[in-house]
Amino acid sequence: MSFINYSTKEINCKIVYYGPGLCGKTTNLQYIYSKTDPKMRGKMISLTTEIERTLFFDFMPLSLGTIKGFKLRFHLYTVPGQIFYDASRKLILKGADGVVFVADSQVDRMDANLDSFDNLKDNLAEHGYNLDIIPLVLQYNKRDLPNIIPVSELEKALNYRKVPSFEAIAVKGVGVFDTLKAIVKEIIFKLKS
């Protein structure tokens, strides 16, 4: 739910990175954090397990400057990807203005992608959101690994809405900002319409 504060001329929006375990959601945020001017971002908070897996969420506030006299701020969140943490995923989705679904391109992770995508749909529905309407961008991550699924197949399996989609190698930053820019656009145009 966007927060528009007329007294301070600020707009805050929430973006949630969703996807199966180990698909690269946290890596996306870490790359954005490492490449953003410190003046434009706040602290990155990661609530992780002892083995650095996301336990609750990663969080990073990002200021994108001014648009029509309003300061534009985005709060980026990731959800824990492991199946076990579904209750946490549900909580973090609440109030999302847009979702980035990060798919793992490896052949043996296709089932996990599909399960996670179905889980996204269900969890959105629980909050009264509709996956057919909410601003959504797809990212096909790990394109540098061997034994990956062709993009055409990923598109067929996940992109029924024909939303913007990007190939990525998040660990090297490839496609990370393209994805972010696209979801920001989707959210702003949703606010506009």
Binding site: S2, Y6, K14, G42, I45, F57, G65, I67, D97, N130
Partner: protein, 161 residues
């Protein structure tokens, strides 16, 4: 999904801020914040410059959300009050109307009892003010901000990424 808050004018914002300052003074606490349930800071008392409000907001909202999940598991509607006791500093968190979160940070110079008492009074004063923060479907009032935004405007936001 399409709901918005509008702090319509400076007058309401300053009334809320005055109430938070009163709570801070009367409870002898260190800082008072008002957040929405997503963790966005709506207002805060004076002397909060030293706090990372954005991080505090996100973590407290996560805390409230997780506790809300626990409440549901136990068949409770919600746990409206959370209290975290530290060695030197403590946090009192109050969920108001299932929409807003009132946060009081205090230390040994006051007591939990006094904080609770003053928080109750502050909530009674804040609730009428919340009615003036519209939480409604996107209205025409938002359109002047967005209606003429172009792709170029958005591209410009990412220059120098």
């Amino acid at each position: 999904m399409d709901e918005f808050y509008f702090l319509m004018d400076e007058e309401i914002a300053s009334k809320i801020e005055a109430e938070l300052n009163r709570l801070k003074d009367e409870s002898n606490s260190k800082a008072v914040f008002l957040l929405d349930k997503n963790g966005q800071t709506i207002s805060c008392s004076k002397d909060t410059e030293g706090y990372d409000k954005t991080s505090l907001g996100a973590l407290i909202a996560g805390n409230v959300a997780a506790t809300g999940g626990l409440a549901k598991l136990l068949g409770e509607k919600e746990f409206s009050i959370l209290f975290h006791e530290g060695e030197n500093e403590h946090i009192h968190i109050n969920l108001i109307n299932q929409k807003f979160i009132l946060v009081v940070i205090f230390d040994e110079s006051t007591s939990l009892g006094l904080v609770r008492l003053r928080v109750k009074k502050a909530i009674n004063n804040l609730i009428p003010l919340f009615k003036t923060i519209n939480n409604k479907k996107k209205s025409n009032e938002s359109k002047p901000i967005f209606e003429d935004i172009t792709e170029e405007d958005i591209e410009r936001l990412f220059q120098g990424e």
